[in-house]
Symmetry: C2
Subunit: 218 residues, 2 copies
Amino acid sequence: MATTRRGGRGRRPGKQDTRGAILASARDVFATHGYDRASVRQIAAAAGVDAALVHHYFGTKERLFQEVLAVPIAPEELLPQVFSGGPDGIPEALVRAFLSVWEHPVTGPAMVGFLRTAASHGSESRLFRDYFAARILRSVGAQLEGQVPADELPFRVSLVASQMIGLALTRYVLKFDGLAPVEPDRIVHALTPTVARYLFGELDETVTDPFTPEDASA
Amino acid sequence: MATTRRGGRGRRPGKQDTRGAILASARDVFATHGYDRASVRQIAAAAGVDAALVHHYFGTKERLFQEVLAVPIAPEELLPQVFSGGPDGIPEALVRAFLSVWEHPVTGPAMVGFLRTAASHGSESRLFRDYFAARILRSVGAQLEGQVPADELPFRVSLVASQMIGLALTRYVLKFDGLAPVEPDRIVHALTPTVARYLFGELDETVTDPFTPEDASA
């Protein structure tokens, strides 16, 4: 309810209030019900405005969700380029696209803030998870259809996410000496085979050490 | 300066005050100077006590550092078992030891708190990084001596950390649907080859896709 006059376009306080109220309601509704079950109608009702006004300010539910999360870049802007080379090109393109966002002088610091928040707050964690599941997982999953069994997709794509998010955390947030100063290309070369194996490779073999095939661990 | 009477052994307020004052000073000194350059003498001076008292309450600088970070388990309790099988056994043993801490009903939730804090606060990030560098990296590095060039160790061990910490974040903090309900053994099988490659494998090859050796991406 507090009037914020800082930032954004449209200096009329009334507009800012409405926009802010919708955002606040959206955050509550998404956090309570999750992305899938939240509706624009519900968010509008919680903000005491008409659903048409929500669409006017934010467009789609997805765009509103992105605004709530303060995601600096939309996956749909990046993913087409990741998929443009066909399945074989996905692993390297995915790592490169990911790094390009984090290395960028504007989106990079914004992503650091986004990840810090997602990691530290319970409700933000749910939003982040939903965001990931609703948008990235489904897009990547659709591209991999027929390549790997559908029931393995969530595990495979989440493993990729674990490596990518872990890299982001150690390189850009925690700034490990062994990672922060390393050239992006070296990161790409190191991570691409990992991502390729998580997406397309054998995951359930009980191989202890791939470098000693003659079962030295027995 | 506020008197905290909650928790811990030793109910005499005076003792708790001294202990708390040392901890607070240690946090400041570690955050400002980093683990390596911080000294017990410095911490004692900042707390207005004798260095002997710091040793009395906390033992070594390392133990004090661990107390500051509220790390639920000391790496030196786990690492010997990780190294007991020789270099070939390290990757799987490392993943299993890591998971055992996070799956444990007491240390697991404590690690979630630790990681949340490390990810969200700048000064905690530095402490976490120092902790990692000072303790885990050096122990693992010492075990791998002669196996891989010494100048590659920080990169290799940090890559392992990126995957392990990323897994912890996505499975235990963000609770991704594709990871949270998965059996620990499947995680071990999925991650062990990754850790093995990061520690001992080729990292700088420009192979786009290891599953199509006939350069399909050209």
